[in-house]
Subunit: 276 residues, 2 copies
């Protein structure tokens, strides 16, 4: 593992690190914010999964989460959104290939060799973080934006007991019934719909739900509402009597100006679930 | 004037606008954050001047000031750092020409026709903002980062009574005695050192000072300390008995991770001076 950069921020350190990933078969880069409290021992950790076209960097520079994380004493990890490098398959479209891994293990060519973001985030990266940094893997929360909200919700529901809490900003909520999902699932996973179910937050909410609190924020003026399908997730949460809150935020769009507005609430929500 | 974008943010609106500038003889773009309180009438305004290579966008997306501005009820304006467009002279270096206007009125060719950032910020843009938006020109503060800290300090000291308060993040503090300054002043203003004095914060602090409180934050591990020369400004502030605070912040560098860490203090400092 190599430190790409480390900048002091709110008394802690905003780092960027790269490492050879076995899961993805390429070098991967991630951002990690360690609050000042990490100087005294392992701290809880909040995952932030990013959306289409993003790298590890977007949320790290634009979501303004570090100050609130420092206040709560929680680490923030900002993974990349796909495998990277010249050997990795890609597509000209912004919503397939690099920057658009959709947090699955691809089974179809040409994607299968490297597009294994599910294993990377569920297994490899947490183990690396636990071994190399002062983070406490027994106290984790997870959040994300858009494609990353989809990733956060599906990872959380597939790993009962791992995350104390899950939240999402304008998640791709029902991908197997949206053009943000069907296209990518067909490419990465093939046409068998049963392989898609565990990667669809609404269907997982219907099937199993989440064993902790859920917070979802959705901008009411989001330009992608028809692709995100928030009503499907909201309906599934209510039908299951899921412990959680779904908030339609009037006038907000899909941008980081929306994310940064509500990130204080999300950090506080996870801190509360983590007993901080 | 044309609205380029408007995004809801912390209950207010983060806008980007472009307009034909008489001062610069080209189209100029600026960011303006209006807090929710602007819906009820004109609000005070804090200028944020950016550093080398920046546009109107950097601080708007990375400084994380909007939440604190919304809390205080203060508008934020993010001007560009130079004239723009194909007709505008430029240089291959990152620290001369576009993105490096240094907040002066150039008198030398080829810069003189467009590089008039001083007039743009001192006269044209405030008049436009006052006419088009709910901002109160009788209640202004000014801040900036690096080259923008230089601009904020020199504009503030040259306009007694206009700004209630001035602050700066790692300003270019003594440009007429630094390679960040001599090169640009020679190019824009010519070799006559007396024309440089009003554009040197340290020399202005020695000559006239500021008629209100001053706050300066400087990262102790800033990679550009030798070019910024903070010790010259600190010495001049103390020698003048200037109402103000100079803070050397241990371990911080020149990045926006430093700016975002202390922006809450700066917004609160200006809000206090503005009686909010």
């Amino acid at each position: 593992m190599k430190a790409v950069s480390e900048n002091k921020c709110f008394g802690g350190v905003q780092g960027v690190y790269s490492h050879a990933s076995d899961a993805c078969g390429c070098d991967m880069t991630f951002g990690l914010y360690l609050p000042p409290q990490a100087g005294n021992g392992p701290v809880p950790m909040l995952w932030y999964l990013s959306g289409l076209t993003c790298t590890h960097e977007n949320a790290m520079t634009k979501a303004a989460a570090q100050g609130f994380a420092a206040e709560a004493g929680i680490a923030l990890v900002f993974p990349d959104t796909s495998p990277r490098g010249e050997a990795v398959a890609d597509d000209n479209a912004f919503d397939l290939g690099k920057g658009a891994g959709f947090y699955v293990n691809a089974t179809q060519d040409p994607w299968a060799p490297h597009y294994r973001m599910w294993d990377y985030l569920a297994e490899e990266l947490p183990a690396l973080l636990g071994a190399e940094f002062a983070v406490d893997l027994d106290r984790q929360g997870i959040t994300g934006h858009s494609m990353g909200g989809h990733g956060a919700l599906t990872l959380a529901m597939a790993h009962p007991g791992r995350f104390a809490s899950v939240s999402a900003f304008s998640p791709i909520a029902n991908p197997s019934r949206s053009d943000w999902g069907r296209k990518q699932f067909s490419a990465y996973l093939g046409e068998d719909d049963t392989a898609w179910a565990r990667h669809d937050a609404t269907r997982q909410m219907e099937a199993v739900g989440f064993d902790g609190p859920v917070l979802v924020d959705q901008g009411g003026d989001d330009q992608f509402l028809d692709l995100l399908k928030p009503e499907a997730l909201s309906q599934a949460m209510a039908a299951r009597r899921q412990d959680g809150v779904f908030r339609m935020q009037k006038g907000y769009d899909h941008s980081y100006f929306f994310v940064s507005t509500f990130i204080p609430d999300h950090v506080a929500f996870h801190a509360d679930a983590l007993g901080l």
